[in-house]
Amino acid sequence: MSIFSYLLPKKQSSASVAKERLQIIVARERSTRGGPDYLPQLQQELLMVVRKYVPVGEDAVNVQVDRESGCEILELNITLPEEEAQQHY
C-alpha cells in the first residue's frame, strides 16, 4: 500500500462482500438442512396455493422441520402482506 492509497476514497472490500453473501446463503441453507427432500417442492406448491388468494412475495412461505424428543414438527409460516396491499388486489 503506498501513500497515495490513503488519499483515495475507501470502497467496500471484496472480503466483506464475501462475508455478507456467505452469511445470508449459509443461514438460508441451514434452515432447510436435515429436513426431508420434498420440502422445497412442498414450499413451492404451498406458495402457489396461497397466491391464488393473496398476493405474496417469494419469501412469504417458510417451511421448517424441527425434531423434539423423537417426534418431528413441520412448522409452516406464511407471512401475509399489509392490509393496504391486499385491497388493491
Binding site: S2, A15, S16, A18, K19, R21
Partner: protein
Amino acid sequence: MTKIVVVTSGKGGVGKTTTSAALATGLALRGFKTTVIDFDVGLRNLDLIMGCERRVVYDLVNVISGDANIKQALIKDKKVDNLFILPASQTRDKDALTTEGVEGVLNALRDDMKMDYIICDSPAGIEKGALMAAYFADEAVVVTNPEVSSVRDSDRIIGILASKTRHAEQGEGDIPARLLLTRYSPERVESGQMLSVEDVQEILAIELLGVIPESQAVLNASNSGSPVILDIDSDAGQAYSDAVARFLGDQLPHRFVNVNKKGLFGRLFGG
C-alpha cells in the same frame, strides 16, 4: 482406545490429502500407531503425497472384497515409524465401499493392528466415498480455504457430519468437528481481499484447529512425496505441527495469521 478421524471438506482441492498426510505423520512422529486411509476410490492420490506410490500392491477395496488381508495391504512408511498407509483402489467401482466392508477394515485396524489413530482421507463431494469416510468417525477435521465456495461447502459438510455419522445415528450426539483453514494469506486478508480467520470462524461456528499459510513448501512436499510436516523449517510444516499439538489437546497460540510488520519506509513506498 482407537480414534477414527475423518478429514473432510466438501469442496475439492482445498488440502484434504495434504492435511491427512500431515496429520497422520505428525501423530506417528509423536509415537502413536497411525494408519491413513485413502477413501477416494477411483482417484487415488494419497500414495503420491506420502511417497509410496510404487509400493502399492493391494488397496482398500481388495481388503473389503477379501482379496487381501489388512496386513498385506498396509504400506509401512519408510521415513516415519508407526505410520501406515492404506491406498484407495484405482478401479471406478465406488459401490465396493459398503458400510459392513468399511467397518470390517476399521475393526481389523483397531483389533488386529492395534492402531491408536485411523485417519480417513475423504474424497470431495457428498457421495458414497465421502459418506463412508465420515460414517465411523469419532472426530472430524474440516479443511477450508478462505473463499466463498469452500466455506459454503464446509458448512454443508458440517451439517452432514451432525446427522450422518454412526455416533449421530445412535443418538450419541454430534462428533467434535474442528476447522483447519488452509492456503491463508495474511497480506491479502489485511488488504481486504480475503476472508479472515475470524470471518470464517464466525460463519462456520466451529472450533479452530489451525491456520496453514499459503506456502511454496506444500507444493515442494507433494513434488517430492514427503508430507509437508516433515519440512520443519517451512511455515506450513510448522503450522501443521502446531495443529497436531492442538489436536492432541495442547493450547498453542496461532502463528502465521498476521502480516510481518513493515517499517515506515516499507509502508510508504512498499508494494
